[in-house]
């Protein structure tokens, strides 16, 4: 301890700055690492159908819940998310949010299983009845554009 008391202020400041830089560096490393593995990509139903979905990571699909597709099996529900061009079957075990409705927009997060069914770990429907998730809207617009180009 006594050593430090004899340090020159210049050295001390340098040490403080180095200490701060180390903290910032570690924080930056943590951030980059976490960003790499913990972000969920939004994929449109058409892209999923065309095999453009990430295989090993969870991702999100935005779209409409297809009317008449909802089927219950105890606490598990099956439904179809669509961008009006391609349909993706989804299964979810748990309680759906209040605003989840057939024909309305929804966002699901999860991953594909071997049968091509999307197993959702989370279903998001927003808290306002007149509100369409922008990701769902985006998916519909994308699908429409591609249709027109064809």
């Amino acid at each position: 301890m006594s050593l430090q008391n004899n340090m020159k202020p210049r050295h001390k400041r340098a040490l403080l700055i180095i200490g701060a830089l180390i903290v910032i560096g570690v924080a930056a490393l943590l951030i980059l690492n976490a960003l790499n593995s913990n972000i969920a990509l939004y994929v449109t139903p058409s892209d999923v159908a065309n095999g453009k979905a990430p295989q090993s990571q969870t991702f999100r699909i935005g779209g409409l819940v297809k009317s008449g597709s909802l089927r219950r099996d105890g606490i598990t529900v099956h439904f179809v998310v669509t961008d009006l061009v391609k349909d993706i079957p989804v299964s979810y075990t748990g309680i759906l949010p209040d605003l989840f409705k057939e024909g309305k927009g929804a966002v699901v997060q999860g991953r594909l299983n071997q049968n091509g069914e999307f197993v959702a770990s989370e279903v998001l429907a927003k808290h306002d009845e007149n509100y369409m998730p922008p990701e769902a809207k985006h998916a519909l617009e994308q699908a429409q554009k591609q249709e027109v180009q064809k």
Partner: protein, 640 residues
Amino acid sequence: MIPELGHYALILAFCIALVQGVLPLLGAYQGRREWLVLAKPAAQTVFLLLAFAFGSLAWSFYVNDFSVLYVAEHSNTQLPTVYRFGAVWGGHEGSLLLWLLLLSTWTFLVAQLSDALDEFMVARVIGVLGLVSSGLLLFVIATSNPFERLLPAAQEGRSLNPLLQDPGLVFHPPMLYMGYVGFSVAFAFAIASLLSNRLDAAWARWSRPWTTAAWIFLTLGIALGSWWAYYELGWGGWWFWDPVENASFIPWLVGTALLHSLAVTEKRGVFKSWTVLLAITAFSLSLLGTFLVRSGVLTSVHAFATDPRRGIFILILLSLVVGSSLTLYAIRAPKRATGAQFTLTARETMILLGNVFLVAAAASVLLGTLYPLLIDALNLGKISVGPPYFNAVFVPIMIPLLVLMGIGPWTNWKNTHLLTVIQRLWIAALLAVIAAVLIPTIMGEFTWLASLGFLLAFWIIGSGIQQVMRQFKTGRPTRSFIGMQFAHLGIAIFVIGVTMVGAYQEERDVKMSSGDTVTVGAYQIQMKGIGAVAGPNYKATRGTFEVSRKGQLETTLYPEKRNYFSSTMPMTEAAINAGLTRDIYVSLGEALPDQSWAVRVYYKPFVDWIWGGCLLMALGGLIAISDKRYRSKWRATHEA
């Protein structure tokens, strides 16, 4: 008529706020006393005008004046009176008016309580606040006028979103805004000190209670919001790392850093530049929070209104505030070290290190919040950054901070013999290790993360107990000291709550019909029946669930599924049996075909400690600002 008067008051307030912003600052610059004296009366007038405008809007809600567009959009005749009042800030325009009213309230308080300050300083502080006020007033008048008429008037209003019809949400925005806006005072003091080249201990002493006051409100506001989300959204979570939550949490982190940094500047006269930078940052982040929430760039619960013009306006205001204050900072901030000596083990270093962790945490949360917007803006695709990112980054940064919290209060200013401190703290360390081993064992499952949580919490508690014991040996503790103890204990209590819920909660989503029983924790929950009930402005399906433990009936819970008349969306009202050591949480999902229901049953151990910890922190802040020495010391140095 009343709404027009309110609108008129707003415009008048803008004109006077301009006077309040320009003349005192110019007067202070040119040494014209006759302009300086305008500051206080102008601030008082703006406050009265805004109070009148706010009152007019509240009145329009009270009398159901649906010829006012904002009222028609956010209220209806069936809304109970309390919620009609809460609906005043239930939407974009009204909440901005509240923002302004609170800003003028802070300004008014500064004007009333600043007799001890010299008039140049007061004029500059009030002037800076006046500039901020006039910027936001212009924003409200130009893009978000709450008094806009709807002609012909609507027969009946649209409903307030049923989610918002809740006492927790009546008080959440005012608290939160009071905190947000309160950082404007610390900001104004920092700018005024830069302008007058008087960054000294007196400046820090003056800013401190104001910053603490704002911080108390922000703490309570965030806690209220979290509590509301817990019982109202029906998912039983207490924090979602939702961008809107982050928008309030980032200023809190920086504000906490500012509180501590101000203490060093006051006591030791060092870190001045850093403290000023934090004051500017805290307020800028509050403005950024307003921008994020109110521009609609974020997609979340709170983004009810979306209007790009509004976003651009706030963005311009934000860049003006940040740009001009940083320029001033670059020109005026003290460049040479003040020469105060301290070692690497001194309290100064400990607080600085804590500051670095807090700011790093704030930066990582900010990055995670803005990253999806950035990626989207660059057309690189759409992504979402969710809780896993924030947990992965935030928690590791907090660990060393919590360790530091046990050591920091033991260190002395200037220099500490670290070895002695460590030797003394073996009792706290022992307590922490015992807790880290014992508590997970009692709870029935040992996980390293839970163990770490208890280790850190009891490290802080143990260190705190030892500090209190030492303090009583040497003399009467000051209120600052008691305040710090409460606030730090609050953090420990909070950590215990978070750890318990994270490691030992049980969540069951099950299909139930009358007579079925489900077990969570040591509790059996039996569904007794389900029926219809009527509320003042809704119809509901209500379930009856009996909670028993070891065959003894503990309580009966009545979760509801409500359908409000004015809205087509169903609402889940969870039923919660709260307790000191656990909450039992039952909420109804949806009706299943065969008379059964999807039901969500949670067992949440120690969850109330999360908000209890926040209350303790706020209480600590309150005790700290009640310390009389601020005023008396200020006078002493000032007269000397």
